[in-house]
Structures are given as structure tokens and as C-alpha cells.
């Protein structure tokens, strides 16, 4: 059931109405039933995977907590323990917890690895040996498995680290893992954040409902009117790599950047808006990413929950691990302070970006995409002293034209790297990007060639208007804050008027066409 299907809209409306009609004690059980039904409608077999992941996390988190409780009980019973004895006790219990944590990671990441990456491994073995022994097999890849697995893993690790108490109710934990608005494309919530509001009770709040629904409509506008319209041109441009070279590739790159932004942020707006309408606070996943002045800032603003997940659960643990610190010390002693300081950061960043690439998909283009991000981030890190000299020499830092240049540079850089995601083939991506600099057919921008990509002049008109609306809202948000709050301060008709206008625009300008079947959200596949 796609977010953009009529079925989902009816499902969402029914859940929302029941949510406030039923007694408040029924709110979270209703969400659990709705979430499992949502998942079962997609494929009932998916339920086994998600219940297995939730159950293993539930049991192991309780075990982790009981080990820590036992340590505290021993400490309470032995007030005369020396510092060394306390240290030894802690080490013993930590080792036991570590073994349970490893089991949890093995079970949860194991399911993810087997379902999502078996065919990738088999296909590559097949290419390597060419003797027919290895070939892809028919596998179920449960919808949203990358998202809910990461969410579950973070829960278990947080319990292990003592940052989180274990959830006593299995059904409540299952709701955290399967909460339907965020099941298929995130955000990747942390238990400590989401659980504060997930289980209610939530009395009806008119402001929260109208704010939430406005955001849902804004999400649908970006997805159905803009992303689902421009995808026609993007698909055409990518499909014919013989014809669409040079400037066409540049156009595909910018169109895809706009499509991905509208698609992913639109989907997240629907998720967060729907949750908000039910009084549930889901973590923000974007903070005006296309206003970033460098790639590091971009990754702090784009898919935020994924970035913080990799930072907290991969980057920091690897960076401060004993072998890494030993390596850092060794490098400092043998290769010099400058290299010693960099070794940890470089190796940890490499691991994070490799993992980020693999997380996005079981294909080489995603691996290369991840490593390209690593190279650019490290290069910009190394060039920082040079930038500082440049800024000091020319006094450009903080000046509007230079900031615009930085923003445009970041957008172009990210868009080029994203071409690996676009063409889904590493050599082909390099070849097509290369044609941007070798084939000069800039005339296609004005000679009507762009009208042969499946979009009419009217479609381009809608896209241009939509672009300026999105840009205007983003600029307002960056300078003055929440647009919805601003509307709410005006007579109530203003907010309702905007909601009605958005709904009308979605109905009239949504890219439906004959035999409408909305495109899947790009991030659903991850």
C-alpha cells in the first residue's frame, strides 16, 4: 500500500478517526493493529521477519538489563568492596552483556544481511567464477527492513550502554519497531525519543491535527505534483544513454536532484505530519539540506536520522576502539603527529561511508557512491587551511554572493555524486558524467528538445511554479521559522485556506494521467 495510493489515504483517515473516537487507552493498541495490518497488506510473510526482529530485541534487552541489575545488587550487598574488586565485577558483567549484544546484532543484522545481500553476493560470485554454480535466487526482501532493523539495533545498543531502560511490554516494543507511518522510509527513530509520545494518551488537539494534516498535504504536493511529474523526464533521460549525453546529462542531474528532494522530503512530511496529527513526535529528517555551504554541512541536514545513526553506532565505536587508538598511537610514534591524528578519523570515516553505501543498496554503484562521499569529505577536510587562507585574503566569508556560490557548489557536487544512484552502473556513470565536459549540445536547453522527454510545456510550467513555491517556503523557514505557526497567528481561515488550496492543487495538478499508478517512493527500496 503506497503512501500515494487511494487505499492508503482511506486507511490513514480511518486510523485517525478511530484514534480519537476510541477510548484513549486503545490508542497505542490501535496503532499496533494498524501497523501490522499495513505490513500484512503489503505481504503477510513480512510479519514473520519484523516479529522475529522485535522479539529478539525484546528478550535480549531484558537480559542486558537483568545482568546490570545483578551487578548493582552485588554492589549493594558488598559495601566493603575495593576499587579493584568493583572494576573486576564491572568487567565481568560487561563481558556477559557484550556477548548478549553480539547475539542481538547477529540475529537482527543477520536477517537484514541474508534477505538483502544474498543475491548481491551470489551475482558477484557468478560473475567471478562463470561456471553457473552461483546465480540469484528468489528471496523475500521485507519492506522497510533496513529502517526497522537499524531502529531496533539502536534500541538494543542503547539498553546495553545504559542510556535506555528496556521496554517491559513486547507489544509496545513491537509498535516502536513497526509504527506504520515511518516503517517504509524512516526516519530512523530512537526509542528514547519516539517512546515519549508513541504510547499516549493523546486527547484531541485541533492545532496538532490541523498542523499535522497541513504537513501531510505539503508532502503530497511535493511527491504527487512535483516528484511524480519530473520523474517522467528523468526516466527518459537515463534510459537512453546513447542519445541523452552532454547537456542532457546535466539536465538529468539537476532534475534528479529536484525529484529526489521532493520525493524523499515529501514522504517524510507525510510520515511526520500523520504522526503529528496523532500527537506523536517523530524525529526530523531534513533541515533545508540544499542550503548547505559544504558537503559536511549537507550530511548534517540531509537524512539526519541515518547520519546520526551511523555516527553514534559505527563511527564513534570504531574510532574509540582499542585497536584504533593503538593504531593512532603507533602512527603518531612512527609516522609523525600529523598522520597519527588523521589515521583514526580517516579509517572510521571510510568504514562509515562504505557501510552507508551498502545500506542504501546491494549494488556496486551504492558502494562507489558512499566512497565518493568519503573522498570529497576528506578532501574538503584537508583543504580547510587553504579555505581559511582564501577567506582571510579575500574577505569573502559571510558575504551573500560567496555564500550563494558555496550553496550552488555543494548542490552541484552532491548531484554529481548522486549520478551513481541515478544510472545504477559505475562505468556508465563515469562515462555519462564525462560527456558533460566533452559533448557541447547546450542548445537542447532552448530548441524544444526538452519537450520530447514526456513532459509538455504545461508540465514544465507546473514544475517551475512548484520549484519557486518550495524555494519560497524554504527561504521563509530559514529566515523566519515555521510557516504553519505564521499562518496560525492569522485568522483561522488562512491556515484552512492553505490546506484547501494544497488539496485542490494536488487533485488538479497531481501527475496522475490515464491508468494512474503513482511511483514508489525512492527510499522505499532501501
Amino acid at each position: 500500500m503506497l503512501f500515494t495510493s487511494y487505499g492508503f489515504i482511506a486507511f490513514m483517515a480511518a486510523v485517525l478517526v478511530l484514534y480519537y473516537l476510541l477510548p484513549k487507552v486503545c490508542q497505542w493498541p490501535l496503532l499496533l493493529v494498524a501497523s501490522l495490518a499495513f505490513y500484512a497488506i503489503a505481504d503477510w510473510r513480512y510479519l514473520f521477519f519484523i516479529v522475529f526482529t522485535a522479539a529478539s530485541a525484546y528478550l535480549i534487552a531484558l537480559k542486558l538489563e537483568s545482568i546490570e541489575a545483578r551487578r548493582k545488587a552485588i554492589l549493594a550487598q558488598s559495601p566493603d568492596m575495593t576499587k579493584e574488586e568493583k572494576k573486576a565485577l564491572k568487567a565481568r558483567h560487561k563481558a556477559a552483556q557484550w556477548r548478549w549484544l553480539l547475539l542481538a546484532l547477529f540475529l537482527e543484522l543477520g536477517v537484514l544481511a541474508v534477505t538483502k545481500y544474498t543475491n548481491f553476493v551470489l551475482e558477484n560470485l557468478g560473475k567471478l567464477f562463470r561456471d553457473g554454480r552461483f546465480h540469484a535466487i528468489d528471496m523475500i526482501v521485507p519492506m522497510g527492513i533496513s529502517f526497522y532493523t537499524f531502529q531496533t539495533v539502536s534500541y538494543v545498543i542503547d539498553v546495553y550502554r545504559g542510556k535506555q531502560t528496556a521496554q517491559r511490554s513486547f507489544l509496545k516494543l513491537l509498535l516502536f519497531v513497526s509504527f506504520f507511518p515511518q516503517l517504509v522510509q524512516g526516519p530512523i527513530s530512537r526509542y528514547g525519543d519516539l517512546s515519549k509520545t508513541l504510547y499516549g494518551p493523546h486527547p484531541y488537539d485541533g492545532k496538532a491535527v490541523s498542523f499535522g494534516l497541513t504537513r501531510v498535504l505539503w508532502g503530497y504536493f511535493k511527491k504527487v505534483v512535483l516528484a511524480d511529474r519530473i520523474i517522467t523526464a528523468v526516466t527518459a533521460l537515463i534510459a537512453d544513454t546513447a542519445q541523452y549525453t552532454g547537456t542532457y546529462v546535466f539536465v538529468a542531474m539537476l532534475f534528479y536532484a529536484f525529484e529526489l528532494y521532493c520525493d524523499f522530503t515529501g514522504g517524510i512530511d507525510i510520515t511526520i505530519g500523520l504522526a503529528e496529527a496523532m500527537g506523536i513526535r517523530v524525529a526530523e529528517n531534513f533541515n533545508l539540506p540544499y542550503f548547505s555551504k559544504n558537503i559536511k554541512e549537507y550530511w548534517n541536514r540531509w537524512h539526519i536520522t541515518m547520519g546520526t545513526w551511523f555516527t553514534d553506532y559505527i563511527f564513534y565505536p570504531i574510532s574509540v576502539s582499542k585497536p584504533m587508538l593503538k593504531l593512532s598511537k603507533w602512527s603518531r610514534d612512527h609516522l609523525g603527529k600529523a598522520i597519527g591524528k588523521r589515521v583514526t578519523v580517516y579509517l572510521s570515516c571510510f568504514a562509515v561511508w562504505l557501510a552507508t553505501g551498502i545500506w542504501h543498496g546491494a549494488a556496486w554503484n551504492f558502494v562507489v557512491w558512499g566512497l565518493m562521499n568519503f573522498v570529497v569529505i576528506m578532501a574538503s577536510q584537508e583543504l580547510e587551511p587553504l579555505y581559511a587562507k582564501f577567506h582571510a585574503r579575500f574577505h569573502v566569508k559571510g558575504k551573500a554572493p560567496y555564500e550563494v556560490f558555496q550553496v550552488v557548489r555543494t548542490i552541484l557536487l552532491m548531484s554529481v555524486i548522486r549520478m551513481f544512484d541515478c544510472y545504477r552502473d559505475v562505468p556508465m556513470t563515469f562515462k555519462m558524467v564525462g560527456t558533460m565536459f566533452t559533448r557541447f549540445n547546450v542548445h537542447v536547453l532552448w530548441d524544444g528538445s526538452l519537450l520530447a522527454l514526456g513532459l509538455t510545456g504545461a508540465d514544465y510550467g507546473v514544475l517551475i511554479a512548484g520549484f519557486f513555491i518550495v524555494l519560497g517556503v524554504s527561504l521563509y523557514k530559514a529566515r523566519r521559522g515555521s510557516v504553519r505557526e505564521a499562518l496560525y497567528r492569522k485568522p483561522r481561515a488562512a491556515l484552512y485556506g492553505v490546506m484547501a488550496a494544497l488539496a485542490l492543487v494536488i487533485v488538479i495538478f497531481g501527475a496522475y494521467g490515464v491508468g494512474y499508478d503513482s511511483s514508489q517512493f525512492i527510499y522505499n527500496q532501501f
Binding site: K90, R161, D312, Y316, S319, V320, L325, T344
Partner: protein, 75 residues
């Protein structure tokens, strides 16, 4: 504390670490800086900061970081 201040200054010479208590909140330190600091602390002070202690409260000021180091030395 002097060693810690000299580590911090070697990473961000432009910041007044004795006064600033919003190093994380104001995005003065990013994740790469934090790892560089932890690595230096380990090398120069022989204190290992575990991943669960890498939270904004422990890195928002030199004082908070010093408290963390003392606590870890004590454990």
C-alpha cells in the same frame, strides 16, 4: 586541565575554551573534531573515552570534558 586546553586549542585555535560552554550546541565541534580530541586525550593523558560517553553534555565545554576525564580516571 592545561593539557586538555592545549589539546582543544590545537584543534580549534580560534575558540576560547575557558569560556565557551556550547561547543556542541553551536556546532563548533563536529564528529571529526571529537574523534581527534578523544584520540589526543588517549595519547597524551592515557584516558579512554568509551562511545557511550560521547554525548553533547560531556563535550559542550572544556570543564564538562575535564569532569568526564576525572570520572573515568576514578572508575
Amino acid at each position: 586541565m592545561d593539557t586538555l586546553l592545549s589539546i582543544l586549542r590545537s584543534i580549534h585555535p580560534e575558540v576560547d575554551f575557558e569560556l565557551c560552554d556550547t561547543l556542541i550546541d553551536d556546532s563548533i565541534l563536529d564528529s571529526l573534531d571529537i574523534i581527534a580530541i578523544i584520540s589526543e586525550i588517549n595519547a597524551q593523558m592515557d584516558v579512554t573515552i568509551p562511545p557511550e560517553e560521547i554525548v553533547p553534555e560531556n563535550f559542550n565545554s572544556a570543564e564538562a570534558l575535564w569532569d568526564l576525564i576525572e570520572r573515568l580516571e576514578d572508575e
